[in-house]
Symmetry: C2
Subunit: 338 residues, 2 copies
Amino acid sequence: MRAAIMHGPGDVRVEERDEPRIVEPTDAIVRLAATCICGSDLWPYRGFEDGEWPVPMGHEYAGVVEEVGGGVTRIRPGQFVIGSFFASDNTCEICRAGYQTSCIRRTPVGGAQAEVLRVPLADGTLVATPGLPPDDLVPSLLAASDVLGTGWFGAVAAQVGPGKTVAVVGDGAVGLLAVLAARRLGAERIIVMSRHEPRQELAREFGATDVVVERGDEGVAHVKDLTGGLGAHSVIEAVGTQESMVQAVRATRPGGHVGFVGVPHGVELSGRELFFSHVHLHGGPAPVRRFLPELIELIYDRAIDPGRVFDLELPLDQAAEGYRAMDERRAIKTLLRP
Amino acid sequence: MRAAIMHGPGDVRVEERDEPRIVEPTDAIVRLAATCICGSDLWPYRGFEDGEWPVPMGHEYAGVVEEVGGGVTRIRPGQFVIGSFFASDNTCEICRAGYQTSCIRRTPVGGAQAEVLRVPLADGTLVATPGLPPDDLVPSLLAASDVLGTGWFGAVAAQVGPGKTVAVVGDGAVGLLAVLAARRLGAERIIVMSRHEPRQELAREFGATDVVVERGDEGVAHVKDLTGGLGAHSVIEAVGTQESMVQAVRATRPGGHVGFVGVPHGVELSGRELFFSHVHLHGGPAPVRRFLPELIELIYDRAIDPGRVFDLELPLDQAAEGYRAMDERRAIKTLLRP
């Protein structure tokens, strides 16, 4: 099969590899209908993360089950399924509390930028759609695999709800889908922090009511101006840099909530600033599995259209161009068709 | 009047000073029945905080109102009142959300280790008891002014509740009263991290079910051993050092809650560790005012006896000895009688 392999920063190649096979009795083999490139894939692409090269890329996936191991009872061949970037048993105490990405048996799922994928702990990890989905829903279902679920978790972690003013730091796919999540969860006002016009546009279509183009302390000052000097009730951080985290904390009012879902790179938080900020801080790798059934239903009902974050679609063979387009911010997110 | 003044690290003197007078129409003048020395007073005493010397000490107080300004309508002379270390209007949006220590008009209250105290924003800040309290309740009412309210906020911030396992990092007065709060709030199991026998004893009387004497990673390992490898649901941090904060985060299970109420000194938190820990983090200067009516009622009903943390009582004139006893850990907390 064909698969996208990163050989080092800036060097992605699509190569022939052996098809994965069942290893554990709890595995499933999924033939992918679509996969995509994640903002987090850009960290190693840009040389900000050490990796053991070469590494098969991709952790977002949706497709049809081809085969399951002997221990799999809930998932069946022929089902269209979506899963998340960590496999989880969905039965341990941590999973039952809704933190499947910290499952005591969690295993990373990798190599999804390919034709076929092995998914461990299939019964716990995969959620089947009601039937084979119409083709136009596939991008949205694929988005549920990570970016939608992550934006959604950011909004839930930030305690978004009716009557609240929400600010979103970051206008990548996760930030944009955090806007969509905040709208669905009833936020009264949604401020997106973005300086890119096409992204501002999509943010507004997803439900943003205000755009703040400034960053850092100026951005914080603008959010405070918009909120009677107090700051937002809920702030979603969807970048992962020191600047964006500090901006998120400072844009939140005392007693408010920061949901942080950008994987932190070099972020150090001052205990004293956090203390006197009086904010609640919660985040981490999104337990997408918690939200998948609800998100699939909303997508099937066409109540949300998260697939719109894919503004570039390429055949898997052109994965390298997909990375370049995202790196140069020519594309928000690239969908790859195997 | 007599008042305790810190002239530099280790140098506390009780001196004659002018009695405070009404400055703003919203002020009240309170003749103190009791005051005390706070664990946080030890930071400058030990030279860990720069101050502008000399500085009048003390921020915990309970006593009888002598006089109020022309703008005070709710508080009246003759009432026995308790207040907190930040004055607050109790009407702004932040106060109404329960974060009175971040009131948009907040003002620090200082110089309470004295005979008489000026309290700004008296209507918002002070809570009157049902009548003049019996003398044996005064220590507990004084504890409500800060340490009890702070321990209580730590437990609330850590989302303590029925069925939960709680760990408390720190066996000072705040940590011990966090144990008491956790018990009142219905915790199933309360692990106190303490290596001092008399404090372990009091912790057990307040409701602790387990004692962990190890610190750092060993202490974390012991808490995990006691919780099926997962960590506690709720951890209250009541120290404020790098070691204690890291210990608190690591002793919490994914999805669990850390309530941190020790004023951080030199604490830097790794964004990446917080992210992958999946904990909720909330804390700050305790909005004691939020809890005062409830705490006063519990004390009046003799349902709780937080005054037991005062294991040394001295006349105000011997404040210096009170500081020494706490610094040398001979006393948990010193009550001073003006």
